[in-house]
């Protein structure tokens, strides 16, 4: 079957291109819409940003800015895409960019325009929200302007909800089975269909938001001839209340997890604030981040500290695996053949728990962690009753620091205990050196972040970072 979607309001039908063709490639090479640019093909520059109709956190249709270099074309079946050409030339966000001299060479500009387009239609972002503006635009690099004029343009347009005739219709994908050029992309609409597809396509890779998987195509030039998408299965998406906790569907977008977690799990919220960029979080899913099982993935340490359980689904039904036992070795998980991650469950955070997360990277926004850390410490009757200290970037898998945890439990939460825990980290982990940080830096950070956590709790600080800060620790 062909792929059908709305492009700038007009129905298009695509057939005969490889399923791993990205929206960006297709726009430029087949649709001859060259306003959308390629600056990296790895989701890190935003020059390829377009708007994709989707369901917003409030359940209403909305436009989301996404990196078209990371969207496989079949994922668009039944959906609606808007590119810079679709805005005409005098949309309010375009006017604002002209007025404030937001473009110099202009190469990044279409991408910024589309991020601003999302911003102007957002109901949860205001012009005075400095951190929110940074988050909205950090996925767009500009080498010329120094960003100030773009920020000024953003301040003028965010949340203004202009009546511009661009209605986010067709916000959800439809079932797809697309075969072309020796590749197949199946996007079933329910779990039964998913397991059928997995049976029918042995060796197929599961794809969710593709923000990791697309890099294998774009950067490693791998052929992924068989892909099964979990994106269009309603039961896998969304957050629901359980007895004593929450169930987060595997395909819930990180942007939505971020918005939802603010109250129940501030440490998750704080981590997601410094996770990738808006465009990535608008496609990336929580399940993808967990199943990717990267040692430098950012949500796994948080989920480990929050004592998460992975819900795995197969034709046989669901099974529960404590997240601690989910990561087996470097990039290997407990997922079996024909099994997918259905959800992550989090128990409610006890009132007496201190919880916080930290991420250190070369650049504050849109960067991969050198070290990520997440801590939950409960103090009852003056002594630590429970400590879960989890790290990314310190070992081959996201890991808890067993020795350091032991050093805390049963003692008052004080400097002496923290010093012992920091000392124990040296035996818990032997980190590596790479271009994100040396082993020395990682080891030092691991201890300093724990110290910083202790200082924050002692100072009784809110675990929410201020908009602009000199470091992931507020001490």
């Amino acid at each position: 079957m062909a792929i059908r979607f709305l492009l700038n309001g007009k129905a298009v039908e695509v057939d005969g291109v490889a399923p791993t063709t990205t929206l960006l490639q297709w726009l430029r090479e087949h649709a001859h819409l060259t306003g959308t640019k390629e600056g990296c093909a790895e989701g890190d520059c935003g020059a390829c940003t377009v708007a994709l109709a989707d369901v917003g956190p409030d359940g209403e249709p909305t436009w989301r800015a996404v990196d078209s270099c990371l969207v496989f074309l079949p994922a668009l079946n039944g959906r609606s895409v808007l590119t810079v050409e679709g805005l005409g030339g005098d949309h309010p966000v375009q006017d604002a960019m002209v007025k404030h001299l937001g473009s110099q060479c202009g190469y990044c500009t279409p991408g910024f325009v589309m991020s601003l387009f999302e911003a102007c239609h957002r109901k949860d972002l205001t012009a005075t929200d400095d951190a929110g503006l940074n988050d909205q635009l950090c996925g767009n690099l500009c080498r010329c302007t120094g960003y100030r004029p773009i920020r000024d343009a953003a301040i003028e347009v965010v949340g203004t909800q202009p009546v511009d005739g661009h209605v986010a219709t067709a916000p959800t994908g439809t079932a797809t089975d697309y075969v072309a050029k020796g590749g197949r992309y199946a996007q079933p609409a329910d779990l039964a269909g998913l397991f059928d597809a997995l049976d029918a396509m042995p060796g197929a890779r599961i794809v969710s938001g593709a923000t990791d998987l697309a890099l294998e195509v774009n950067k490693l030039h791998k052929a992924l001839p068989a892909l099964v998408s979990v994106e269009s299965i309603p039961s896998l998406r969304g957050v629901t209340r359980t007895a004593g906790g929450w169930r987060i569907g595997a395909t819930t977008l990180l942007a939505d997890v971020e918005a939802w977690s603010k109250d129940p799990f501030p440490s998750l919220h704080r981590m997601l604030r410094y996770f990738a960029s808006r465009q990535i979080k608008n496609r990336a899913t929580l399940g993808g981040n967990v199943c990717n099982a990267s040692p430098i993935g950012d949500t796994p340490p948080v989920l480990l500290a929050l004592d998460a359980t992975a819900i795995l689904a197969s034709r046989a039904g669901e099974r529960r695996v404590p997240l601690r036992e989910f990561f087996l070795s470097y990039r290997k998980t407990a997922l079996g053949e024909g099994e997918v991650l259905a959800a992550i469950e989090l128990p409610d955070l006890p009132e007496d728990a201190f919880a916080a997360s930290y991420k250190v990277s070369k650049r504050r926004e849109l960067d991969i962690s050198a070290v990520a850390a997440s801590f939950v410490v409960r103090v009852q009757s003056g002594v630590v009753s429970e400590a879960r200290l989890a790290y990314g970037g310190m070992a081959a898998t996201p890991s808890r620091a067993a020795g350091a945890e032991r050093a805390l439990v049963g003692r008052p939460f004080d400097e002496a205990a923290v010093n012992d825990a920091v000392a124990a980290l040296a035996t818990d982990f032997t980190p590596m050196s790479d271009h994100r940080g040396t082993a020395w830096y990682r080891a030092t950070l691991a201890g300093n972040l724990l110290r910083g956590f202790y200082l924050e709790t002692r100072n009784d600080r809110q675990p929410t970072l201020p908009a602009r800060h000199a470091g992931t620790v507020i001490a």
């Binding site: 060259t34 375009q94 202009g106 190469y107 940074n134 690099l141 250190v360 504050r364």
Partner: protein
């Protein structure tokens, strides 16, 4: 519609509407000519290797492959290079760095070409490689010829100095990271002629290189450039190889060939800003005045000369920065390594030179536990005799003192300094620092012959105008300024003038759009061309209107005598045509009064100096080394601004790029000479949150410059060096974690890791009471 652009008034960018709508075209956006093929370079995986054999048989067998080309397939010269032809376009006997092209594959699609590239069989014999400046110095593997400048008696001055600093200053490399990667499209035309679209800052050089590679005279090759998605120096010399690959592919296949580099290819085929190592000794007197500077400056050129000599020379010209140094002994060495050939990057060696003298200022102050600005202010250029550079050029209007006075007042320097000291006394994890950076930057190509430019202006019989000049629009707003100048000169709204794509068949023998010279040189050329046409039109208007030509004013689309009769410009244009008066003209400009003797290290290499200053405040976190710029105040001397909104944009953008260079952009090679940070996932340039929320940028007032186009000054490069202020701010904040009296050892770029190391190092020395490393 061209937006409203007026001389000396803030105006939008001339292409803004095209940028925001996606209509602005770059080379890779041009519609594919019929039969177009794609070229893809095969890169050497070794830093230095003898090529034992090469075989394209397997690659050619892949369906869709049209050609696999090696050095022997080059019909003309296989040697390229902007100054000396010391690079193999396609590696012949030896490959000189990882990324050196060994072959070019031409195929129906990029994907096929990439697949075929992996099938090209090249047998290498790995040779010893030089991968660091130190190894290059040890091997005396120098390129070009050293440059020496001397004045006074450095030894005597150091012997009598109150403080002597002996240290090594290093600066990091920097990738240009223009958002548009390199691209070229070569189209064979009838009669053996060529049309090349290239994303180059230097179409004339591309024209020359393509002609030489194909063995043709230059008139057989037209190079045209629509616009660039950023250049920053990275598309000055390095665009040629890409255009030559395309031309070679097109020559062999007879079909149009496009070569477009993806980001990884762009970063692994092309050179960066030069890292430098400078060993220096500086002497200060008891008042903090710099009395002597001896410097041995080593630039990592990479595998070929490229523009390294001129860049290294510009570093020498800027070792003094804004300071008068009575006794100097400067010498540079251009070091060959088996790495990517480093190239022009905004500032062109100037920033690398300034980093050295600023390091000396900081160390002197840190050792004595004093404010470094005491040393800076005491050492500024001033009245005679403190107004002569180490190379004997007079500094006519030294502005550092004025900049310091105005900027320290407007940035509230003293009050904030006190507030920071109070904050630092009580805050244990986060400390702040306030840095000041003055900049003096010489304007002109130091190779005197390059200081020339041409223009071609065409007025049509309906009064509409086409303007061609030799400069490239790469985001810096050159066309906007040129439209303002042309509109002003012809007395028509700038919207009546169309800026044409830059092409070598319109204006020949151009210099690169570089050295901040774009509007200085082309501005005069455009103005001269317009003035010539206006004079001819004035003669006709004088006859028609019956007023003397000298009394005529061209303004607002009208030509006439004030208070007297007038006629529309368009009508006059038509009248000129009817009367058979030429309505087109070239314009030309050569910068006067330049003369520099490199042998003697003496003369006047610059037409004038551009000045600027910054005050930068940072916060540093001692647990993680993370830091951020809290506020920056910038003050830049652009003369009388041609278009202030454009100049402000240049100042801000350059500052952020400078801060990126020194705080986060890390170019890393592995032990085998492979460039590993080859994408934005690992090479981090500033993003929006890295720009201070409080950024105050001003242009210095009442500084109209003599002899320049409408009294303006160059602005492209100088403000990049305002970013160096972040280093002095960081060093102050780092020092606040220890007792005073210790020099700070901060590696650049000052990543969080580098800052944490510096904090722990100075704390350790401070606790141990140990002398500083360079004591």
């Amino acid at each position: 519609m061209t937006p409203l652009i007026k001389l000396n008034a803030s105006s939008p960018h001339e292409s803004a509407r095209k940028h925001v709508s996606g209509a602005a075209r770059y080379v890779d956006d041009l519609p594919a000519p019929q039969g177009m093929l794609h070229g893809f370079a095969v890169a050497s995986p070794h830093a230095h290797a003898k090529i034992v054999s090469r075989d394209g048989t397997r690659a050619r067998a892949l369906p869709g492959v049209h050609a696999v080309l090696f050095a022997a397939d080059v019909p003309g010269s296989n040697h390229i290079g902007p100054v000396v032809h010391d690079e193999d376009l396609l590696a012949d006997a030896t490959a000189q760095c990882v990324g050196h092209a060994v072959a070019v594959v031409v195929a129906e699609s990029r994907d096929i070409a990439r697949e075929a590239a992996a099938l090209v069989d090249v047998v290498y014999e790995v040779l010893p490689a030089i991968l660091t400046i130190e190894e290059s110095i040890a091997a005396k593997a120098f390129l070009g010829s050293p440059h020496h400048m001397a004045r006074g008696d450095v030894d005597a001055a150091l012997a009598s100095a109150a403080i002597v600093i002996k240290a090594t200053a290093r600066n990091p490399a920097q990738d240009h990271f223009y958002l548009e990667t390199h691209a070229a499209l070569a189209i064979p035309e009838e009669g053996g002629n060529w049309l090349i679209y290239s994303s180059t800052q230097h179409p004339t050089e591309v024209q020359g290189e393509v002609a030489s590679v194909l063995g043709l005279p230059r008139n057989a090759v037209v190079v045209e450039v629509p616009r660039l998605g950023g250049g920053f120096g990275g598309k000055e010399s390095q665009a040629s190889q890409i255009a030559c690959w395309a031309a070679l592919g097109a020559h062999v296949t007879g079909r149009p060939v496009k070569v477009w580099l993806d980001r990884e290819q762009d970063m692994t085929h092309t050179g960066k800003r030069h890292p430098f190592r400078t060993d220096y000794e500086a002497g200060f007197d008891a008042d903090g005045r710099l009395t002597a500077l001896r410097a041995r400056v080593y630039a990592d050129a990479g595998f070929s000369l490229d523009l390294s000599q001129a860049i290294n020379d510009r570093a020498l010209f800027h070792l003094d920065n804004a300071y008068y140094v009575p006794n100097v002994d400067f010498q540079n060495f251009t070091c060959k390594t088996n790495l990517l050939s480093n190239t022009a990057f905004r500032g062109f060696g100037g920033p690398q030179g300034m980093v050295v003298i600023e390091d000396a200022m900081q160390r002197a102050a840190e050792r004595l536990g004093k404010d470094p600005n005491v040393f800076r202010v005491a050492s500024f250029y001033g009245d005679a005799p403190r107004n002569v550079t180490p190379y004997g050029m007079r500094v006519d209007q030294p502005r550092a003192a004025r900049l310091w006075e105005e900027l320290s007042a407007s940035s509230d320097y003293a009050t904030r300094s006190a507030a920071i000291a109070a904050h630092n006394a009580t805050s244990s994890v986060v400390k702040r620092g306030l840095g000041f950076m003055p900049v003096k930057f010489g304007i002109s190509f130091t190779a005197t012959l390059l200081n020339q430019a041409g223009a071609l202006v065409l007025v049509y019989a309906d009064g509409s105008v086409q303007m061609n000049h030799g400069g490239i629009e790469m985001g810096q707003g050159l066309h906007t300024k040129m439209l303002a100048i042309a509109g002003d000169e012809l007395g028509v709204p700038a919207s009546a003038v169309r800026a044409m794509d830059t092409a070598t068949d319109k204006v020949p023998n151009t210099s690169a759009t570089a050295a901040s010279s774009g509007s200085d040189l082309n501005g005069w050329a455009v103005r001269n061309a317009c003035a010539e046409i206006r004079q001819r039109m004035a003669v006709v208007a004088a006859e028609v209107l019956g007023v003397p030509a000298a009394a005529l004013v061209f303004a607002d689309g009208q030509v006439g005598a004030p208070g007297g009769p007038s006629m529309p410009f368009a009508k006059l244009a038509n009248t000129c045509w009817v009367r058979r008066i030429s309505l087109s003209s070239t314009g030309f400009y050569a910068t006067p009064d330049l003369a520099y003797d490199r042998e003697k290290g003496f003369g006047r290499p610059f037409f004038y100096f551009a000045w600027g200053a910054s005050v930068v405040e940072v916060e540093v976190n001692a647990l993680t080394g993370e830091h951020r710029v809290v506020r920056a105040d910038l003050l830049q001397d652009v003369g009388k601004s041609l278009v202030p909104s454009i100049d402000l944009g240049q100042v801000e953008g350059a500052f952020v790029q400078g801060v990126g260079w020194l705080t986060m952009e890390e170019c890393l090679y592995d032990k085998r000479g492979r460039f590993v940070t080859h994408g934005p996932s690992t090479y981090k340039i500033p993003t929006i949150g890295d720009v201070p929320a409080d950024l105050r940028v001003h242009l210095l007032e009442n500084v109209e410059q003599d002899g320049t186009i409408h009294g303006s000054k160059a602005v492209g490069e100088p403000p990049l060096m305002l970013g160096i202020g972040v280093v002095s701010a960081l060093r102050q904040a780092i020092g606040a974690f220890a007792s005073p009296g210790h020099e700070i050892e901060l590696a650049l770029p000052a990543t969080p890791e580098a800052v944490l190391r510096a904090i722990m190092d100075v704390r350790a020395r401070s606790a141990a009471g140990a002398p500083s490393l360079h004591g």
